[in-house]
Structure formats: C-alpha cells, structure tokens
C-alpha cells in the first residue's frame, strides 16, 4: 500500500484444490509490504486458514496448489513457495514467516516443558547454548508479559492457563524473529477478557519489531482493531479488499455488508446490555 515499504510477500492467482476436486481457495491475490498489517476475514470454511498454510507451503498432502506465492524477505532473496522443495521451505520457515495457531493447547507439545519449546527456535536461529539460552528463554517469556517466567519455563503445557499457553505460542513464533507473523484466529479459543489482552500484546509486539502481520479471523471487530487493510474471503475467493476504514464504513459487497451489519448489531446489543447494567 504505502510506497516507501518494500514488498515482502506477493500472492498471485493462488488456487488450492482438495483431493475431491473442490476449490478451497480460488484466485486469491494480494501483496503484503514489510511491516504492514493485513487482516484476512471470512466465516469458517472460507479458505482463510488454507491460504495461510499455502503461504508457508504446509498444505496437507493431496492438496493441489497452483498460482504463485513469492517471499522477498531481507537476507533470504526471492523465493517462490509453490512447488519449492522441503529443504528450501524449511530454511524459509521461521525466518521469513512463523505462525500462531488458534488452539494453544494443541499447538504446544504436551510432553515437553514450555521452556524447551521456546528454546528450540532460539537455539537454531541465534545459535544460543547453555546459560545464554536459558536467559534468552526467560527474556522471551517476559516479552509476552508472562508472570514468573522461570516457573512457566519449567511447566508442562497442561499446567498453565489457556491465555498463558497462547502467550507461550506467541513467544515461540516471535523467537524465530520472522519478517511476517501469521496469526490464525489467535484469540478465538480464549475467553473474552483474555482475548483483549492477547490482542493488545500481539499489536504492541508487531509494532515494536516492525514485523508484518497477517491476521486471520472471522471476527470483523477484532480484525479492525489490529489490521490496516483487510481482505474479505467467501467460499475461497476474495470478494472485497481495502483499508479497514473503507471496508467497515462503506462495504461494497453484500457479504461484507452482512458481516459489518451483524458486528454492528452485536455491538449495539452489547451497549444496550451494558447501559442497562450501568444505570438500572
């Protein structure tokens, strides 16, 4: 969007077809500049998660991916993801992009202490060992505002709360220091109060580090808080895109209007409830 930033990711004509021949993603194109925050919005089954997986070259076996996904991360050169070999992709993943998933309990290895899971990318990316590695793990956990990081580093995932787990998952994704962070419904599995905290944390960290963010959600209100630009997906195709303000204030596509309308209705209903509650 803004001309002074370099293009980090260029997706052109991306198609993902399931083994049964169903088009899960059809002809999705967009670009993402370094440091830009883009929202990908749509209901479940709209192909938003599949788009994210295709960007990292992690579509499940049997999926036919065509089109073009080009990363141009600093220091890595231009890389075409579609059709690239596993070795090339492994070197790209983590440095060009890493992902925070929806369900923090299953995104962490249940049998590995949290500290070791955060340590793994730090060890690989920054070559840290021993004491220095322990210190870096503690710092990484502190950065995501986890209380008592030494204790949490020794805990197993089932021993900490859902919000804490998602913070650990964010710490793991950030430990790779990626140019693009993909957040796939990172707040959906959390309860509402924790959602706001995690969202604010994510927003702050991405800003601080000048990272690009691809934020995937079904929740327009959440996306409009964190993204600069949104793409609306329906049945695998992009139906509308533009700046958050334009899309929210002047939606053109009927589906977007419906999304904005239902978000508004929910908002005003909430307001009514809150008003009643505040002034009985």
């Amino acid at each position: 969007m803004t001309g002074d930033r370099a293009t980090l990711l260029a997706v052109a004509g991306l198609h993902v077809r399931s083994p049964e021949g169903r088009d899960l993603v059809s002809d999705v194109s967009f670009t993402l500049d370094a440091g830009e925050r883009l929202g990908l919005i749509g209901e479940s089954g709209s192909g938003k998660s599949m788009t994210a997986l295709a960007i990292t070259g992690l579509t499940p076996p049997g999926m036919a991916v065509s089109g073009s996904v080009v990363f141009d991360a600093p220091g890595l050169g231009r890389t075409e993801v579609v059709g690239a070999g596993e070795r090339r992709l492994t070197s790209l993943r983590g440095r060009a992009t890493s992902t925070v998933f929806q369900e923090p309990l299953t995104a962490l290895d249940p049998l590995m202490r949290v500290g070791r899971q955060v340590a793994e990318p730090l060890r690989r990316r920054r070559g840290l060992r021993g004491r220095a590695l322990d210190a870096a793990v503690t710092a990484a956990l502190e950065e995501v505002r986890l209380p008592d990081p030494e204790r949490i580093a020794r805990a197993y995932p089932h021993e900490i709360s859902g919000g804490q787990r998602q913070r650990v998952a964010i710490a793991m994704a950030l430990a790779c220091d990626p140019a693009l962070l993909i957040a796939d419904e990172p707040t959906t599995a959390l309860d509402v109060t924790v959602q706001a905290d995690v969202l604010a944390l994510l927003d702050g960290l991405v800003r601080e580090r000048g990272m690009a963010l691809l934020f995937i959600s079904h929740d327009l209100a959440v996306v409009s808080r964190i993204a600069e630009r949104v793409i609306v997906l329906k049945n695998g195709a992009a139906v509308e895109s533009g700046s958050v303000d334009d899309v929210v204030n002047a939606p053109r596509h009927p589906y977007t209007r419906q999304l904005v309308g239902s978000a508004r209705r929910l908002d005003s209903a909430l307001d009514d409830v809150l008003d009643d509650w505040r002034a009985p």
Partner: protein
C-alpha cells in the same frame, strides 16, 4: 507447586521391579556362582528337595537349582533380545509407514498383517531350519513376530502425532523433519510404546519357554525353563519340584514385567502424573 520436579512414584512399578529384580538377581548370580556344574549328573535321579540338592535333581541326576538359575539367565536374554530386535525393526518399519505416502503405507500395512497372521511357532521352525536350534534362532523368530506388532502400533501412533497442531507449529518455525522426529514424534509415542514393549518382553519370555518346550530353543546344557518343564513332565507325580520351580519363576518374571509395564504408563506420561 505442580511445576516442582519430583520423582514420580508408582506402587505397581515398585512391585514389578521387585519381582523382576528377583529373577534378574538370580540370573546375575548364575554368572559367578552355581551350586553344581550344569552338566554334572553325579546326583541320584529325581531326588526330592533337600540336601545336598536344595531343589532336588532331574531324571538325569542334574541339580535343579543350577538349571533354574541358568534358566533365569536364558529367559532374560530371550526377553531382552526379542524386545531389542522387535523394538528396533518395528520402530523403523512403523515410522516408515507413518510417514509414507498412501501407496507405500498400504503396502507396508499389508505386509504387517501377513506377518502378524503368521504363527510364531511356524516362523521359529523356519528360522531353526535355516540356522540351527539355538537361543539366537528363537530370539530372531520371536523378535520378527514382535516387530510386526510394534510396527503396526508405531504406525498408528506416528500418524496420530503427525496430525497434531504442534507438529505444524514446529514446521512453520522451520524445524527439520529429523529434528521433529527426535524432539516431538518419538517422545510423544514413547509412553504408549514403552508400555507395549514391556508387555512384549513378558510375552517373549513365554514364547521362548514354549519354543524350548518344543525343542526349538537353546540346546543342552543351557537349561531353559521351557525345556525343564518338558523334561519334568513325565515325572510330575513322582518329582513335582521339577515342574513347580520353573513354572513359579516363569510366572514371577512375567507378572513382574507386566506390573512394570503398568507402572511405566503412569511415569512416562507427565500429563498423567498430575492426577496421582
């Protein structure tokens, strides 16, 4: 509190270790000290328990306690050897099938089903025919039969772990496959697999006893509990000690190993430890 390191305890594990440890102690002792030489037939035939033969003698006048101690050694060697072969071959095959494409996976699964349907005794007879009747032949046969079961279990476990989000999460951060196998796949299949291997150890001990009973195990003078049972069978009413002693030890070892298997399940999985 919950994050404090502590030694996981399990009553079944302790009980199992005591029983199996008893047999292990006897086996270790047999390397250093035996009451008589294994081929010493100087005693009277079919003596009842007493002095100088604590457990009596067999129909050739050999000391039963001596044979029993060597039998403990043979039983443990059979169990350990079979689990080693079956575990390694089965783990490799199961990992290959778990990672394989559809076509290769189906092929491996079909081969495993055939191998599992094949009777262990028949397999042992084939191996014995190709080599000779020895403990090694018996262990190879039992190990091969076991590897099919281990491979099938490993395949399912690997597939289940690979479908988990944390594998995808690990891959999105650029972890290589060998590293994912070592750090995530093996530790996550280990709690279930180790329990199964411990159970297989007990089954292997019983299988070796069966093969020896049929004359497909270690040849004399290396006594095996299975062959002791077979040799004492004809004189069971005159000299019951010859049947009772190896039978009891066989049960002690197998029950001990099974209890260990149960205990390992509680200890190997940290998500289960908390509930204890």
């Amino acid at each position: 509190m919950t994050t404090r390191r502590r030694v996981p305890r399990s009553a079944t594990l302790i009980a199992g270790c005591v029983l199996a440890g008893l047999v292990l102690a006897v086996a270790v002792l047999s390397f250093f000290w035996l009451p008589y030489a294994p081929d010493d037939t100087s005693g009277d035939r079919l003596m009842p328990p007493g002095l100088p033969h604590l457990l009596g003698t067999d129909k050739l006048g050999r000391d039963l306690l001596t044979q029993l101690m060597i039998g403990a050694r043979v039983a443990l060697e059979a169990g350990a050897g079979s689990v080693l072969i079956g575990g390694l071959v089965g783990l490799a095959g199961g990992l290959a099938a778990g990672f394989a494409t559809r076509w290769l996976d189906d092929t491996i699964s079909a081969l495993l089903d055939i191998l599992i349907a094949f009777p262990t005794v028949l397999l042992a007879m084939l191996v014995t025919a190709a080599r000779e009747a020895s403990l090694g032949s018996a262990v190879i046969a039992i190990g091969l039969a076991m590897s099919a079961i281990v491979a099938r279990l490993t395949r399912v476990l690997v597939k289940r772990v690979l479908a988990q989000d944390f594998i995808t999460a690990s891959r999105t951060s650029g972890t290589s496959w060998p590293r994912i196998i070592l750090e995530h796949v093996l530790p996550n299949i280990w709690p279930t697999l180790s329990v199964n291997l411990a159970l297989q150890f007990g089954l292997a001990v019983l299988a070796e006893a069966s093969l020896s009973y049929l004359g497909l195990g270690a040849p004399p003078p290396n006594a095996s509990w299975g062959r002791m049972l077979q040799e004492a069978q004809a004189s069971v009413f005159i000299a019951p000690a010859g049947v009772i002693a190896p039978g009891v030890l066989l049960v002690v070892l197998v029950v001990g190993v099974n209890l260990i298997a149960d205990g390992v399940r509680d200890v190997a999985d940290p998500t289960r430890r908390r509930t204890r």
